[in-house]
């Protein structure tokens, strides 16, 4: 998911109220189905176990309840949201309720006819994902032939007058192309480009050895990005999502647990972020059983990591605890098997050596030429890339049990 720019101009932002605010963002993950098989997908690896999708009526009720609470941004994502035949109905209702409506898509399925229907429904904006500036890497990491299609979809978006955000997940297989990626986004007329350094959760966590770039690659990518920023001026805004393993800087994940974002998964489970279901010992309510208000304000799952009360040392007495809120709970769990500890990317974390080890291994993997020679094949101590798909999901879920 991409970092939102909420309250982008602090001088104009109203004073934050001390009491608990309603969510500003409703993220409707309407399906886990997807025609792509991206190796860095953020959907849970066990998505096959949660595929019973909400009905149209359930989604309409969720949209109304979210808006009544005060949510203003509505994102339709997935999986590939265009695989839901009722997406036009949902977008039209969301827009009519007063949400700013965002379609977050791979582009697969966005025909001219469908674009016209979304225009009529009042869709405000489309975020289109690209995987690379080259057909080879695009087709490799998605295990599809979709490169040409994405270019066409970008033209459809522009022809309909939508603002276009292009999102590109950055990793070792495409980081050397970053200049050409930026140039391509500018040529396609994107207003915003998100260079989203891979966050290592879900499928990206499984494939981390093949995806994590070296420090030198990141430094050069950021320098190249700065050169393009200067060249393009304000024609296109470029966001370079911080690579938190390398920067050793815990992120204020989701802008705070249960603070801004309310995610509804395809099966109706409500989550403070799209990966929180992995955390042990927490239960999250389902919109089939509970209203959004009760979910947001009263449920155990949403209250558990709110604020700073749950923190242990070194977070509890840290001067930055309000700034980063201890980093990401899912990352703490994935790296240390304990969701209550400081995010291991933080140098103050007793688990920080784990991140340092991963980073030094990335240097070794890159130096041994594993990915350059055969990105799809096994190298020394590196398994072949695991592509996101129903079969792989079932096999990973049974393996972890």
């Amino acid at each position: 998911m991409n970092a939102p720019q909420i309250g982008a101009v602090p001088a104009l932002a109203a004073n934050a109220a001390a009491e608990l605010n309603p969510p500003l963002w409703l993220l409707a993950e309407v399906t886990y189905r997807c025609p792509l098989h991206c190796v860095f997908c953020y959907n849970p690896v066990d998505f096959e176990q949660h595929k019973q999708e909400l009905s149209t009526d359930d989604w309409l009720r969720v949209l109304r309840e979210g808006r009544a609470m005060g949510a203003v941004q509505c994102g339709f994502s997935g999986g590939e949201p265009l695989l839901r035949d009722d997406l036009e109905v949902l977008v039209a209702e969301a827009r009519q309720l007063g949400y700013y409506t965002n379609l977050i898509t791979s582009g697969v399925g966005l025909t001219e006819a469908r674009a016209e229907r979304f225009k009529a429904a009042g869709l405000d904006h489309i975020q289109l994902s690209f995987q690379d500036s080259t057909r080879e890497v695009n087709d490799l990491v998605t295990r599809t032939r979709t490169f040409g299609l994405k270019q066409e979809v970008a033209h459809i978006i522009k022809a309909n007058g939508w603002p276009m955000v292009i999102n590109v997940v950055i990793h070792r297989l495409n980081i050397e192309h970053i200049g050409r990626i930026i140039e391509m986004a500018a040529e396609l007329g994107a207003e915003y480009l998100e260079l989203a350094n891979t966050q290592y959760y879900s499928w990206a966590f499984v494939n981390r050895d093949q995806l994590l770039p070296t420090r030198d690659q990141l430094i050069r990518a950021e320098q190249e990005t700065d050169r393009w920023r200067e060249k393009l001026g304000d024609k296109m805004r470029i966001f370079f999502v911080s690579p938190d393993y390398h920067e050793a800087k815990p992120k204020k994940c989701m802008n705070g647990w249960g603070n801004v974002f309310l995610t509804i998964t395809p099966d109706g489970t409500a989550l403070p972020c799209h990966t929180a279901r992995m955390l042990p010992g927490l239960s999250f309510p389902n919109v089939r059983d509970m209203g959004l208000k009760g979910i947001w304000f009263d449920s155990e799952g949403f209250n558990h990591y709110r604020g700073t009360g749950w923190m242990k040392e070194p977070c509890a007495s840290c001067e930055d605890k309000e700034k980063d809120l201890g980093g990401c709970r899912c990352q703490a769990y994935l790296l240390s098997q304990d969701p209550d500890v400081a995010d291991p990317v933080c140098p103050k974390s007793p688990h920080h050596h784990l991140v340092e080890k991963i980073l030094s291994e990335a240097e070794t993997h890159a130096a041994s030429g594993v990915d350059a020679a055969a990105p799809w094949g096994a190298g020394q101590n590196v398994h072949p890339l695991i592509f996101r798909g129903p079969q792989e999901s079932r096999s990973l879920s049974s393996g972890s049990k």
């Binding site: 939102p4 909420i6 309250g7 982008a8 109203a14 609470m69 005060g70 203003v72 975020q127 207003e191």
Partner: protein, 93 residues
Amino acid sequence: MSDTVPDPASRPAVGSGFRLQWEPAQDCYVLLYPEGMVKLNQSAGEILKRCDAQRSVADIVADLEQAFQTTGLRDEVQAFLRMAYQQKWVRWL
């Protein structure tokens, strides 16, 4: 039209891709754009809601001075519109 000094006769409109709306839950005007939102303070909200492609900058200043029974708002309005233009919150017609 200069980018930096709004001409009193030019007419601002909310920028394309942006939407201005009143939010009761926030008790303020907000400016919505792709994946983001800016909460506006009262004066920013009062200026932007008058950026309707009909009124000139001079009209907006006069209108605000009348609504809030004050004078000398021109500099503040122009400074805000300059910033708003840089942020693409407004465009000029």
